[in-house]
């Protein structure tokens, strides 16, 4: 119970930090959305129209703490303001349209990558020092150092542009209408394959190396030696005894890396013009669409923080030691 309370507390605290960063950042910089809108109309706005815009974007001269409360109130009601790029579409609506694409693509690719990477990691650790261990751990190091988007560009060029094996861009063909049909689903999957492949390739190595190193660590424990001496079968020793414990740190890094994956996938979406959250974030940045940018950042942060929370809760269930909290350092 105490563990639950501390995790909820941390979730709330980190959410508050993300929200506050989002509030403070634009106010540290000169200009406001209404002025930007003015620039967009090349200055052809009457002062009254400018005033109306200011009201609409909530630009006021009230004290900061008051603005902060208004901002928090708006957030609680899900009001993220209006987008400048797609003016006057609310930011919330744009996010609602793009979020499913990102969750579908990145979520699936991440799970595939983690499962595959972990399985290979177990195998490599079991055969530590053999041929495949040396080859794959070196290859994994190289893929971990690859820029995600660069890999995406290369695959796009060779597999889609030169060989036409995959479509070039977008989440589904431009000619067809989104419907709940098999042909449409097939179309979507076909478009998602290449972006998913780049995400899997570039994140697989991390999972593999992480699991391999944990597993080697676990295989060196006394209880494994004892189990082996006792005559426990190989498969049981590998999975029931060693992998089950070795996977625990991988779970934490799963939560940690979600932020990284969302970040990396952001550029993958840009390269493939995939209409997800990352692509919209770039559109927002290029158009200086601060309300949209802020809304997207909040949604990404919220997704990562929630996923982190769920994993932490799960971790507490799986590993009782974490529930006890950490002792003081120096007294």
């Amino acid at each position: 119970m105490k563990y639950l309370a501390s995790r909820v507390g941390f979730l709330v605290l980190s959410l508050w930090a993300a929200v506050t960063v989002n509030f403070v950042l634009p106010r540290l910089m000169p200009g406001n959305p209404a002025i930007l809108m003015l620039g967009r109309y090349k200055g052809q706005l009457t002062p009254r129209a400018l005033h109306a815009l200011k009201l609409q974007f909530g630009v006021t001269n009230t004290p900061l703490w008051q603005q902060y409360w208004v901002y928090l109130g708006h957030l609680l009601h899900g009001n993220l303001g209006l987008s400048l790029t797609y003016y006057p579409v609310p930011v919330g609506q744009i996010i609602a349209q793009s979020l499913p694409w990102t969750l579908g693509l990145v979520g699936t690719a991440t799970i595939i990558s983690m499962v595959l990477g972990t399985a290979v990691g177990v195998y490599l650790a079991w055969n530590h020092g053999h041929f495949w261990d040396n080859v794959l751990s070196t290859v994994a190091m190289f893929t971990a150092a690859l820029p995600y988007f660069w890999l995406a560009l290369l695959l796009l060029y060779f597999l889609a542009y030169v060989y036409h094996w995959f479509p070039l861009a977008h989440a589904y063909s431009t000619g067809i209408n989104p419907t709940w049909s098999w042909s449409f689903a097939f179309n979507v999957v076909r478009h998602a394959l290449l972006p998913a492949l780049t995400i899997v390739i570039s994140s697989l190595g991390g999972w593999m190396i992480g699991m391999r190193n944990n597993m080697i660590q676990t295989l060196g424990e006394d209880y494994i030696t004892f189990a082996e001496a006792k005559g426990v079968k190989k498969g049981r020793l590998m999975f029931q005894y060693a992998a089950r414990n070795a996977i625990l740190p991988s779970l934490t890094s799963f939560a940690m890396s979600l932020g990284f994956v969302v970040g990396g996938a952001l550029l993958t979406e840009v390269v493939f013009s995939y209409p997800g959250v990352g692509y919209q974030l770039l559109v927002a940045v290029q158009n200086e669409d601060y309300p949209l940018m802020q809304g997207l950042f909040l949604v990404i942060a919220l997704a990562v923080l929630l996923a982190n929370f769920v994993v932490e809760m799960l971790y507490g269930k799986l590993d009782p030691r974490t529930r006890q909290g950490q002792g003081g350092a120096y007294s």
Partner: protein, 318 residues
Amino acid sequence: MTQSSDLEPVVRPAIPKPRAHRSSVWRGFFGNKKAAFGFGIFAVFVVIAIFAPLLAPYNPQATVFTPLQGPSWHHWFGTTATGQDVLSQMIIGSRVSLGIGISAGIMATALAILLGMLPAYLGGKTDTIFTTITNIMLVIPGLPLLIVITAYVHQTDTWTLALVLGLTGWAWGARVLRSQTLTYVRRDFVVAARLAGASHWHILIHEILPNMLSLVVANLMFATLGAVLATASLQFLGLGNPNSMSWGTMLYWAQVGQALLNGAWWWLVAPGAAIALFGSSMALMNFGVDELTNPRLRQARRISKEFSRKQSRRPTHD
């Protein structure tokens, strides 16, 4: 003579010890194949960056060649859409790319040392507060945050970028260093130093830090790798200063100049490969240090089969 030599050893042993430890770490570092190989690549890059103006065959800005030429004897990595030599751009660009990456890595590591070790050593409320801050920094998604920050800071020149990356990249290292410091704070040698009246700073820097040198080095490489990749991403999105010459901005111009639609794959491959190669050198060194500090990763094979061989090898290893 007798009295002073009786007193001396109480203070002395703590001081030469770290030095001996350090030299053995370095010997091990170059003895490790992965680490040595990684360091080799890294050294080549550093030499190229230092002597860049001498090594570049052409002026990287000059738009005097036939546009979009493929790799040839005159232009090893081809030319851009405006007729610039890609190889020269890569060589000159290594300065900014390495500069940002390494300085951001050093800054992040320095912050990680400060924000990881000090709270762990002091304990109590300070520790709770700083651990919470570190954890928040860890879970807030990095690249989106960087994009939002650089979008607000309009003039993102090279050093602003390095500063932003350094200020946002310390959390992971702080966490690792904190937990390692926790294992030292109650050891006898720290207690002895405190009883001898050493200041907090002295204990942290001269007693605890030398023991964690390999972790710090590993973190430096990890942070540099992260900074190089993040810089490339931001510059690719056009968020750096697109007019500065670096690997990331080369990719940006390649994308803007529709390198792929023109079939000019070399324009994209070259700078990306440079980033990947430099990143790999960091990852290799990091992995090597990991193997050195974690004896189990270094053991040749798994348990019983090789038991006898391992036993005989162990004394020579450590």
